[in-house]
């Protein structure tokens, strides 16, 4: 009786081993959660577009945040991607249609060898700026899941449109007109 009473009366000693185990388990769960959150994060389809800097194939430096006041079309593509081939002529046609209307096109080659990217651009007569996504940093920031993926960013630097399918000239024109009208 007395022992039980004493056991109840005295606070239990802190078991540091158990504390360490729980802290370690919590840390592992946090790391797993962060990894899953990154894996399943969706592409931005509204709000501020992640800023990025790109070295283009022709040696220019493109910085998204320096394009305020212009509508920007960002297209992720690769030379090994068949739907990108389907989309390329329409993108070039849209560029020729909108380049004098305050619209900037930037193509980002995803997981692609430079010589293959350049051959692709030459094949389809691409004349807007393009460059490689070194370290896949830009595609990580935009959480892209494949190619082609296209983002349209308005004059305030906010994403107004996102598509994960090849786009045709009619769709591109409609969405660029919407962004220009804002």
């Amino acid at each position: 009786v007395t022992q039980d009473a004493q056991a109840i009366a005295q606070p239990r000693a802190v078991r540091w081993g158990q504390v360490a185990i729980w802290v370690a388990v919590a840390a592992i769960l946090v790391v797993v959660w962060l990894g899953l959150a990154q894996t399943f994060a969706a592409q931005p389809n509204n709000g501020k577009a992640p800023d990025f800097t790109l070295q283009t194939f022709d040696g220019q430096t493109f910085r998204l945040s320096e394009q305020r006041g212009k509508v920007v079309l960002v297209n992720f593509w690769a030379s090994w991607c068949a739907p990108c081939e389907e989309e390329a002529p329409d993108l070039q046609a849209a560029w020729e249609k909108y380049q004098d209307k305050g619209v900037v096109f930037i193509g980002i080659a995803y997981v692609d060898a430079d010589h293959k990217s350049k051959a692709f651009m030459e094949k389809f007569g691409i004349t807007y700026m393009n460059g490689p996504d070194l370290g896949t940093k830009i595609s990580d920031d935009y959480n892209i899941k494949g190619v082609p993926e296209t983002f349209i960013i308005n004059r305030d630097g906010e994403v107004t449109y996102f598509a994960a399918v090849p786009l045709d000239l009619a769709t591109l024109s409609a969405e660029l007109d919407k962004a220009l009208a804002e």
């Binding site: 009786v1 007395t2 022992q3 185990i21 370690a24 090994w80 997981v111 370290g135 896949t136 990580d140």
Partner: protein
């Protein structure tokens, strides 16, 4: 006198000619037989490096067995770099710098990647600790020790004697 001088000059001439011929033989040999073309890079050489890389397009499939066009392009790049005399480390470094550290099957032990190396060890240590504690508690000796500890005569000194006497009386009544 003139004859002996002629002999000396002739001797020197012969020696110089012989020396020139001796030096020129290997050079001529090299000119006639250009370096043999380097041995072609085999698939095994390419795959030895490819199986240490993962293309970001095809998650969890090593480059050497991935069938996509992107991975095929990468294998071509590896082949071309091997043909250029690049080492395995140089090729892996090229892919990591161009496409990110995640393409490496074995990440470098630096920065946040250290977690990949540390967490399994920490997990193993914790698991071992839990196992040891559980086995100790499950051991027959541990139960006996627990029983013997609870069988120690209780100390009633800090209780009212009247209460203790009453408890013992009632306990006896209850037990009988």
């Amino acid at each position: 006198m003139r004859f002996s001088r002629l002999l000396i000059i002739s001797g020197i001439g012969v020696m110089l000619t012989a020396l020139e011929v001796a030096v020129s033989i290997p050079r001529a040999h090299a000119q006639q037989d250009p370096d043999p073309s380097p041995a072609p890079i085999t698939d095994d050489q390419v795959n030895e490096i490819a199986n240490q890389l993962f293309c970001p397009v095809c998650e969890n499939i090593p480059l050497d067995v991935c069938g996509t066009q992107a991975c095929s392009d990468w294998r071509q790049e590896i082949r071309a770099m091997l043909a250029d005399g690049k080492s395995e480390a140089e090729i892996k470094q090229y892919f990591a710098s161009r496409y990110g550290q995640r393409v490496l099957a074995t990440p470098e032990a630096s920065g946040a990647n250290l977690l990949v190396w540390v967490l399994p060890v920490v997990g193993a240590v914790i698991g071992l600790g839990v196992l040891v504690v559980a086995l100790r508690q499950m051991a027959p000796g541990a139960l006996a020790a627990e029983v013997s500890t609870s069988a120690v005569a209780p100390d009633y000194s800090d209780l009212e004697p009247e209460y203790v006497a009453r408890f013992e009386r009632e306990y006896k009544e209850f037990s009988s």
